[in-house]
C-alpha cells in the first residue's frame, strides 16, 4: 500500500513537473526576397498549424519543419505550446482526415537554410548559432 501511494505521488509529480531538455535558441527565417520583417506569435502558430496558408501577396506559404532535435523541440514547445509528439499527431489527424497535408520535415539546420534560400515562399526555423546571410531572420512580436 505504501508502495502504491509512493507510485501515485510520483505520477502526480511527473505530470506537474515534467522533465524538459534545456531550451535551445531558434530564429524564424524566410527567403531574402520576402518583404516580411516581423510577425506576431499567433500568426506564426497559425502558419505552422496550417491555418494560415498565404502570404499577404496571395502566394502560398511553404512551411519547413526540422526533424527531432533540440531546435525542433524548443520551437514546438515555445511557439506552438505542444510537445513534438502532439504536433506529429496533429498533422497526422489533418493528413488522414483528408483536410490537408503536413509540412515537409528536413533533417537539420543546413537543409532548412538551403530550402528557404531557394524558395521565395518558404518559412522555417534554425539554430540562432547557424544563422547566416543565405536567409533572412524574421523577428517575433509577442
Amino acid at each position: 500500500m505504501k508502495l502504491l501511494k509512493s507510485f501515485i505521488v510520483l505520477c502526480f509529480l511527473l505530470i506537474l513537473f515534467p522533465g524538459r531538455m534545456e531550451a535551445a535558441d531558434f530564429v524564424l527565417v524566410v527567403n531574402k526576397k520576402n518583404p516580411i520583417e516581423s510577425m506576431n506569435r499567433s500568426d506564426v502558430k497559425k502558419i505552422f498549424l496550417g491555418k494560415k496558408s498565404f502570404w499577404p501577396d496571395g502566394k502560398g506559404i511553404d512551411v519547413f519543419l526540422q526533424a527531432e532535435g533540440d531546435i525542433h523541440r524548443s520551437f514546438v514547445y515555445d511557439i506552438l505550446n505542444k510537445s513534438p509528439r502532439q504536433l506529429t499527431l496533429y498533422w497526422k489527424q489533418v493528413l488522414f482526415s483528408g483536410i490537408g497535408v503536413p509540412p515537409k520535415k528536413l533533417p537539420d539546420n543546413r537543409s532548412v537554410k538551403e530550402a528557404v534560400a531557394s524558395n521565395p515562399q518558404a518559412i522555417g526555423y534554425v539554430d540562432i548559432l547557424q544563422l547566416d546571410e543565405s536567409v533572412k531572420q524574421v523577428y517575433l512580436n509577442f
Binding site: 505530470i15 496558408s53 498565404f54 510537445s83 499527431l89 493528413l95 488522414f96 483528408g98 483536410i99 497535408v101
Partner: protein, 404 residues
C-alpha cells in the same frame, strides 16, 4: 476469424517492411505527390455481453488499414484520396472502400471548398475517428461517437466549404459546412437495428418474413465551428448534423418501406491540452425518428457526454481515464419507458468507466491496453446479444498500430 488472421499477417508483414526503409525516402514519391498509410490490429474480450461482435469468446475482429495519397497541384489546389479497410466486430469485414476522396480548393485562408467524398466534422474527433493511433483508447467515447452510427456520420458524397477566420488577439475560428449523401452499408449497426425493428413489427402484425433489405440515404447536412481563444491549448466547438435514410424491403410478397431520420444531432465540445496532458469533454443531444410500415416510432431525444483525461506519466507512456454516459431518452434517465414496454430499465442508459495505457514506442508505432467497466445496455447492445443483455458488463482491448 481466418480473414482476421490474414489481416494480422498482412499487418506484421507491412510492419516489418516499413521498418526496413526510411520514411522520407520511401513515401514522398515526388515533390508534390505523397503516399501515407496506417495499420492497426487488436483483440477484444468482453464479459457478460457481446460488444459490436462476438467478443464474449474473445475476437481479433478489430483492425483498420488505410492507404492515403495526396497530390498538390499548386498553392490553392490539392487532390487526395484514402482507401480504408476495417473489420470491427460484425461491421466492415475488411472490404476495401474509399474513405474520402477530394478535390480541395483553398481560395484564401478564410474560404476553401472540398468536392468529392468528404469526412464529416461532428464533435472534435469524428473526422479522425478511424485512425487508431490518434485515439487515446481503442474506441472514441460511444455516447457521441457510437460505432453503430458510424456509417451515417463518417463521410458523405457531396461537398463542403471551410475556412479559418482570424480575430487578431481574440483568437480564431475554424468553420466547416457540408451537404451530401452517405453510402449506407447494410452491415452497419444502424441498418441492423432497423432490420431488427422491422422484423419485430412485421411479426407483431402477422405480415410475414422481411427480406431483400436495402438502405438508401437521402441526404445529410450540417456544420461545425471550433473557436481557439487566446489561451494556448484551449478549443471550444459546436457542431450540428441532420440526415434521413430510406429502407426498402420485401415483406411476404409485397414491397415495404421504412424511414429513419436522425435530426438535430448537436455536439458541444471542449478540449484543453498542455504538452504533457489533455482534457476533453463533449456533450450531445440527438433525435431519432423511425417510420416503419406506416407506424411512426419516435425514438425520442437522447443525451450523452463524456470527460476524458490523458496524462504522460513519463515520456513514452500515456494514461487515459474516461467517464462516458449516454441516456436513450433525456427525459427518462431511469428507463421507465422501457419498463412500460416490458423491457429492462437498463436499456435506457450506458455508463462507461475506462482506464487505458498507451505506449508510444515511436511516432510510427504504438501499443495500447485498456479496460472498461460498464453499466446499462443502450446503444443497440441487444443487436449483438439476441438471447438477452446483462446490466453490468466489461470489456478489455489490446491493440497495436503503425503509421507512415
Amino acid at each position: 476469424m481466418n480473414r482476421s488472421l490474414g489481416a494480422f499477417c498482412t499487418f506484421l508483414f507491412g510492419l516489418i517492411s516499413l521498418q526496413m526503409v526510411s520514411p522520407c525516402q520511401a513515401y514522398n514519391v515526388s515533390e508534390n505527390l505523397s503516399i501515407n498509410g496506417f495499420l492497426s490490429f487488436g483483440y477484444i474480450k468482453s464479459r457478460n455481453n457481446n460488444f459490436l461482435g462476438e467478443s464474449l469468446d474473445g475476437s481479433f475482429q478489430l483492425n483498420e488499414f488505410a492507404l492515403t495519397t495526396n497530390y498538390i497541384a499548386n498553392d490553392n489546389l490539392r487532390f487526395g484520396f484514402q482507401l480504408l479497410s476495417r473489420d470491427v466486430g460484425e461491421e466492415g469485414n475488411n472490404d476495401i472502400l474509399i474513405d474520402w476522396a477530394v478535390a480541395d480548393y483553398r481560395w484564401q485562408d478564410w474560404l476553401g471548398m472540398r468536392l468529392g467524398k468528404v469526412k464529416l466534422p461532428i464533435g472534435l474527433y469524428n473526422q479522425g475517428r478511424d485512425i487508431d493511433f490518434l485515439r487515446p483508447m481503442a474506441f472514441l467515447p460511444q455516447s457521441i461517437y457510437d460505432e453503430n452510427k458510424r456509417t451515417l456520420v463518417v463521410a458523405a458524397l457531396g461537398g463542403s466549404i471551410y475556412g479559418n477566420i482570424s480575430f487578431g488577439d481574440s483568437g480564431d475560428l475554424d468553420y466547416q459546412a457540408y451537404y451530401g449523401k452517405v453510402d449506407f452499408r447494410e452491415d452497419s449497426g444502424q441498418a441492423r437495428g432497423m432490420e431488427k425493428l422491422l422484423g419485430k413489427t412485421a411479426m407483431q402484425k402477422g405480415l410475414g418474413e422481411v427480406y431483400g433489405f436495402e438502405a438508401d440515404n437521402r441526404y445529410v447536412y450540417g456544420g461545425s465551428l471550433v473557436y481557439a481563444p487566446p489561451l494556448d491549448g484551449l478549443r471550444l466547438g459546436a457542431s450540428y448534423f441532420t440526415g434521413q435514410t430510406d429502407f426498402d424491403f420485401k415483406i411476404g410478397a409485397k414491397d415495404g418501406y421504412a424511414r429513419g431520420t436522425n435530426k438535430d444531432f448537436v455536439v458541444l465540445s471542449m478540449e484543453y491540452f498542455l504538452p504533457d496532458w489533455k482534457l476533453a469533454a463533449e456533450y450531445t443531444e440527438f433525435t431519432g425518428d423511425r417510420e416503419v410500415l406506416g407506424i411512426d416510432i419516435p425514438d425520442g431525444r437522447s443525451q450523452g457526454g463524456y470527460v476524458q483525461l490523458c496524462c504522460h506519466i513519463f515520456e513514452p507512456i500515456v494514461l487515459s481515464v474516461l467517464y462516458d454516459v449516454f441516456y436513450a431518452d433525456k427525459d427518462d434517465h431511469n428507463g421507465s419507458n422501457f419498463v412500460a414496454k416490458g423491457q429492462p430499465d437498463f436499456l435506457g442508459w450506458r455508463k462507461d468507466v475506462g482506464l487505458g495505457l498507451r505506449w508510444n514506442i515511436s511516432d510510427q508505432w504504438i501499443i495500447k491496453a485498456e479496460h472498461h467497466w460498464l453499466n446499462g445496455a443502450a446503444l443497440q447492445l441487444p443487436i449483438f446479444n439476441p438471447e438477452g443483455v446483462e446490466e453490468d458488463w466489461s470489456y478489455f482491448v489490446l491493440k497495436t498500430s503503425f503509421n507512415f
